[in-house]
C-alpha cells in the first residue's frame, strides 16, 4: 500500500441552499455592473424597462471596481443589506 499526502486545501465544500424565489419582483433591486465593456448598455436598457413595468420598485446601480477581481466585501455587504434582488451584468 502506498500512502500519499493530500495536495489540496482539504476543505469539504459547504452545500448552500438557494434563497427561495419570490413569485413577484417587489421592493429594492440592485443592478450590478461588473465593469466589463458594454455591461452598462445592458443595465441601462434593463433599468428603463424595469422602471416602466415595475414602477413601485426601487432600482439602484452598483459597479465593481474591476471585473477581474471579486467584488470587495464592503460592496457585497452593501448590496445585500439594501436590496431584495440583484441583477448582474456579467460580460461584454
Amino acid at each position: 500500500m502506498t500512502t500519499i499526502m493530500d495536495p489540496t486545501d482539504e476543505r469539504v465544500p459547504v452545500t448552500r441552499q438557494l434563497t427561495p424565489r419570490p413569485s413577484a419582483v417587489t421592493g429594492r433591486v440592485a443592478l450590478l455592473d461588473i465593469s466589463k465593456p458594454r455591461g452598462s448598455v445592458l443595465l441601462d436598457q434593463l433599468e428603463e424597462v424595469l422602471a416602466k413595468q415595475l414602477p413601485g420598485v426601487t432600482l439602484t446601480r452598483y459597479a465593481k471596481p474591476t471585473f477581474s477581481k471579486p467584488a470587495p466585501a464592503a460592496l457585497r455587504d452593501e448590496i445585500h443589506q439594501d436590496n431584495d434582488f440583484v441583477i448582474e451584468a456579467l460580460a461584454d
Partner: protein, 525 residues
C-alpha cells in the same frame, strides 16, 4: 532516558498486545537474521520464565516472517510481537538489535542494554530477581559468550528510515494522508482524484515530501496566504507536496515558494488570471545566482522543454493554484482556448549575455539576490523574425512592428509585454550601443499610430469606438498614440542560444490595478 512509546502490536496468535502499563516491564527488540538475537533467544526464554508472571516481558521482532521463523526454531513460551511496520522500533530510537530495555512506572526507560554483554545482562537479571523477589533465571551463564555485538536495527536501515521519519509523530508534515489500496495504481489514482494537470504526477509519499522540505529552512506549517478562488490555505507543506508531484528537486523549492508568494499578492490577482476567458497564465522568470546552482536553462531552448528545473518549477506553481486554490478548467478556470503555458512556463534570464541591467536589478534588487518575477501573459513566445537588420534602429523597428500585434493591431494602451531578446539580436543592438531605454523608445516610436488609424472601421470594430472618435477634433485624431501606455510596460530580458535572429514576445493580459501587475519576490534560500 526517554519514555518508551505506547504501542499496540500483534503477537503470533493475532492478538493485539498493548504496551505495558506497569511499575516495571522488560522489553527486548530483536530480528531474525541477527546471529546475536538468535544467541539470546534462550536467555530471553529464561527471563520470561522467571519474570513473565510478575512483570510484563515483551519480545518485539522486526519482521513477521522472521518472528515466525524464530518461533519455529526456538519454540519459546513467549509470543513475539510484530513490529514489521518498524514504527515502535523507530519511535523507541532502536539502532541495534538486540536492545533490552527495562522500564519503570510511566514507561520511563531505567536501563537499556545494547547488543549482548554478558556481565550487563547478568547484572540486570540479578538485580531484577532481588527487586521482584523471585529466583534468578536458570541459565548456564559461563556457557554464554562474554560479548556479542548487535546488528543494525531495520528501523535505521536507509531503505526504511526516511519513510519512518516522515510517518513518525513529531514529523513536520501534517497534511491528510491518503492510503492507496495495494490493488490500485497510484498514478491512475491521482488522475482519478483530479490532482493532475493532464500529465502523470510523482506520488507525494511522506518520505518524498519530507525530502522536498529539506530544500527550505522555513517551517513546514508557515502559511503563505490564501489561494483564490477557493481561498485555500497555502502552507509550505502544501507547496512541497505539489512540488513533489510536479517532479521538482528539493533545491528548487525556494524558487517555487517565492513564485507562489508572488502569485498570492493582490497585485498579481491570480483569481482574475485563472478565471478570465482570455487564457492568461503565469510566466515565471528567475534571476540571480540560484539559476546556475539549480541548473536552470537560460540558453538554447530556454523557453522550451528539456530542462527539469524550468519545467517543474512552473508546473509546481500551477499545481498549487489548481489543487490548493481549486482553479480547474471548466470550473472557475474559464479560458476559451486554454494555453500550453498553463502546464508550465518558467525560465532563467541569461544575465551574463545581457549587456544591460538584468530584470531583477531593474526592479530594485541587488545583482547578487536571487529573485523570481511572475508576469501574466496570454500568449507567447511569439517570434519576431529579423535576420536582415544590421543597425539597432532597424532591428528595434522590427521588434516594434512585431509588438504592434499584441492583443490586436488596434489594441493600444491595452496591456504589457515581455520581450525575450536573443543573443544575436543583443549583438546587433549593441553595435550601436543601444540601451534598454533606447530599445523601448524605438519600439514605442515605430508602433505609434495616429488616433484616427485606431478607430473602429469596416475592417475591424476593435479599437476606439466611432462614437468616441466623432467627438474628437482633427488635431486630436492626428495625435500619435503609443502602443504601450508606459515604456515600462515593455519588459525586457535576455535568453536563448547564440545562434538565431528570432526574439520572442509574450503578450500581456489586462495590466495594472484592474488586471494583473508583475510581481517580484526575493528567493529565500
Amino acid at each position: 532516558m526517554a519514555t518508551l512509546p505506547a504501542y499496540r502490536l500483534e503477537n503470533l496468535n493475532g492478538e493485539k498486545i498493548a504496551s505495558p502499563d506497569a511499575e516495571q516491564a522488560l522489553i527486548c527488540f530483536i530480528k531474525e537474521d541477527c546471529p546475536t538475537c538468535k544467541e539470546v533467544m534462550p536467555v530471553l526464554e529464561a527471563f520470561f520464565a522467571r519474570f513473565g508472571s510478575t512483570i510484563p516481558v515483551h519480545i518485539i521482532g522486526q519482521t513477521s516472517q522472521g518472528n515466525a521463523a524464530l518461533a519455529q526454531q526456538f519454540s519459546p513460551t513467549f509470543s513475539i510481537l510484530d513490529d514489521s511496520a518498524l514504527q515502535v522500533s523507530f519511535a523507541a530510537d532502536i539502532e541495534t538489535v538486540p536492545t533490552l530495555v527495562l522500564t519503570d512506572a510511566g514507561n520511563e526507560q531505567s536501563s537499556r542494554l545494547v547488543g549482548f554483554v554478558k556481565e550487563e545482562w547478568q547484572a540486570l537479571a540479578t538485580n531484577l530477581s532481588v527487586q521482584l523477589d523471585v529466583d534468578a533465571p536458570q541459565l548456564d551463564w559461563p556457557a554464554l559468550p562474554d560479548w556479542r555485538p548487535g546488528c543494525g536495527s531495520l528501523s535505521v536501515d536507509p531503505a526504511n528510515e526516511p519513510r519512518l521519519r516522515a510517518m513518525a509523530e513529531g514529523s513536520p508534515i501534517r497534511a491528510r494522508r491518503i492510503d492507496i489500496g495495494s490493488q490500485d495504481d497510484e498514478v491512475e489514482f491521482m488522475f482519478d482524484q483530479g490532482f493532475s494537470d493532464g500529465l502523470p504526477l510523482v506520488p507525494p509519499t511522506p518520505e518524498r515530501v519530507l525530502a522536498m522540505l529539506s530544500g527550505t529552512k522555513r517551517d513546514a506549517q508557515e502559511v503563505l496566504g490564501e489561494m483564490a478562488p477557493n481561498m485555500g490555505e497555502v502552507t509550505i507543506e502544501k507547496v512541497a507536496i505539489n512540488a513533489v508531484m510536479a517532479g521538482c528537486k528539493p533545491e528548487y523549492l525556494p524558487v517555487v515558494l517565492a513564485a507562489v508568494e508572488a502569485v498570492l499578492t493582490d497585485d498579481y490577482n491570480i483569481h482574475g488570471v485563472m478565471a478570465t476567458t482570455m487564457g492568461a497564465s503565469p510566466v515565471i522568470v528567475v534571476n540571480g545566482p540560484i539559476r546556475q546552482r539549480i541548473g536552470m536553462n537560460m540558453g538554447l531552448g530556454a523557453l522550451g522543454q528539456g530542462n527539469r528545473a524550468n519545467a517543474t518549477i512552473g508546473r509546481a506553481v500551477r499545481l498549487v493554484v489548481r489543487n490548493v486554490g481549486g482553479a480547474r478548467p471548466g470550473e472557475t478556470e474559464r479560458s476559451t482556448l486554454g494555453n500550453p503555458m498553463k502546464f508550465t512556463m518558467c525560465f532563467a534570464e541569461w544575465e551574463e549575455r545581457n549587456p544591460w541591467s538584468p530584470l531583477h536589478v531593474e526592479r530594485g534588487f541587488a545583482k547578487e539576490d536571487s529573485v523570481v518575477t511572475v508576469f501574466t501573459m496570454v500568449s507567447g513566445p511569439t517570434l519576431i523574425v529579423d535576420q536582415d537588420s544590421r543597425s539597432a534602429s532597424q532591428l528595434a523597428g522590427t521588434l516594434g512592428q512585431g509588438l504592434q500585434a499584441v492583443m490586436g493591431p488596434k489594441a493600444y494602451f491595452a496591456t504589457d509585454c515581455l520581450l525575450v531578446v536573443v543573443p544575436e539580436h543583443v549583438d546587433t543592438l549593441m553595435r550601436d550601443s543601444y540601451s534598454k531605454e533606447d530599445l523601448r523608445r524605438r519600439i514605442q516610436e515605430v508602433s505609434a499610430r495616429p488616433v484616427r488609424e485606431l478607430v473602429a472601421d469596416e475592417n475591424s470594430a476593435t479599437g476606439i469606438k466611432a462614437a468616441t472618435a466623432e467627438k474628437m477634433d482633427e488635431a486630436s485624431l492626428d495625435q500619435m498614440m503609443t502602443k504601450f501606455r508606459r515604456d515600462e510596460d515593455i519588459h525586457i530580458v535576455v535568453a536563448g542560444s547564440e545562434a538565431g535572429k528570432f526574439s520572442g514576445a509574450f503578450h500581456g493580459w489586462v495590466t495594472g490595478s484592474v488586471g494583473s501587475i508583475p510581481v517580484s519576490r526575493k528567493i529565500e534560500e
